[in-house]
Symmetry: D3
């Protein structure tokens, strides 16, 4: 039920390339804004990735959660920091977030290799 | 396309255990509140499960719909009561609910063994 | 901040008449389906109004909440039954529901005349 | 209950200026993408404004609906074309869209000066 | 990860038949309204299908997107018109729409047979 | 159009007291979980308030945004940190977030007394 990380990343990369290759200027500029929103600025990249994760949780987008869990792991987010973020997402978004939380735990486990 | 009920329940149980084992007090208390929200009170458990089902329909969460359809079957909800609930969900939530309704019918069929 | 019930009802009635007077067949049929979804059927009207209320809570629509609180009062829903319904809406929908819950309590108070 | 168009436009203009004056590059680029998304392209601006209107209806954003109704009026959208668009928004988004439809009719009436 | 169009259509058709066979008048009338909302009227069917597509994008419903991409192809929507519609959906709905855009591109590719 | 902070806080406090006074154990426990979710833990309270703010932005809840902007000001969040958070909310949630961003800027201005 949870996505396999390797397959998820391969499909994401392949389709992003196709989308950017379509040549629509608005779409490619949006993708650029999206990438830059998480770079170091007044807030460090790690905090921004946590913001992206909690936004993805409350909007209940599995692919976005999978992506930001991966980015957070790369930024050195600890398990306890993940749980605090999951808890904010759960309280704000309600029990409807729980199925996504199950898959987020699964993804985190895959990424930690535990 | 619709989830197999056995696999759904097994994955749900396995991941809930892992989430509760993470030791975050806020998360485990939330899970407790979630369970108790559907127990008999001023409203009987059956009515509360119907409330949970319609909330899941309009928020368009397949896993939550699958779970509450199962709980409603256990509470003795009849097919006609299900259809009335589906209809409220459809009217309030719109045609965007229809794909979830297809899977809800499929889940109900699996659970009835018909 | 909460709507005045009299003004709310007057505006709702006036604008519904204008919408129906526009003569679009699809729109007027939709309004008819909406009305009939809450009539007695396999489930009694009271239960359907509770379903409409919880759906409105989790979708966070103040006007819909105001309307269904009024319909529930007319159906004889007790305070304790309201609280159980609010609780399901709160647990499913999360803390984002709380501002709407404040206004729902206010509306209920107005309608009870307390 | 419906917004006064003059006040709405004045507040929108004033605050957009303040937002752009804050100097955040990502935000100002986003505002630019937003403006350009509705310009003539493969689809004419009128069709794009109808797309913006229906998206605003199903996402239930009153300010966005008010804005796009105004843009559609400027593009020469007829009443019957508005009703068809409202109907698609209503069917896709469900009865939860109705309170916003009331205000959209009100806004349209203000703009037509009828 | 993207749905196979043949399987999607077969499952959709099979379950729609079961839903309509359940005999609930409200549900079958809703399905009828849904079908008629996209027929030629003040706006041509092609424009209405674009409205249905953008509404599905911002509400992030993969099945609805797959269905409306298919309808749009049948209506002769060009690739450039699709990209303009995708761009409006992306700007209005945000980056949370991107995973659905990936699958929409994939579906379009399947339907074009490219 | 933006809320007056004093009135907002007074109404929020008054209605929260009424809600807690209703005596429903599930509801009061939920309010407690909500409060504790933002206390210092593995993540500092300031980061958690930023998480609450971005979640409120993408879910488009004005009252929640007003509240978390106030909490963030109390935690010493700088203007530039606010803008970075607003930008993440805007990119993830799309242009539908813009009307809420206008009011968030207005609220921030009120709180800064500028």
């Amino acid at each position: 039920m949870p996505p396999n990380i390797e397959e998820f990343n391969a499909y994401r990369r392949k389709m992003n390339e196709k989308i950017l290759a379509c040549g629509h200027l608005g779409i490619s500029r949006f993708f650029n804004l999206d990438t830059r929103a998480y770079e170091d600025g007044a807030l460090p990249s790690k905090t921004k990735e946590l913001l992206g994760l909690v936004a993805s949780l409350v909007l209940r987008c599995d692919d976005c959660i999978t992506y930001h869990v991966g980015q957070c792991v790369a930024q050195g987010v600890t398990d306890e920091e993940f749980y605090d973020t999951f808890n904010v997402g759960l309280v704000v978004g309600g029990s409807i977030v729980i199925p996504h939380l199950r898959r987020a735990f699964d993804t985190l486990e895959q990424l930690r290799g535990t």
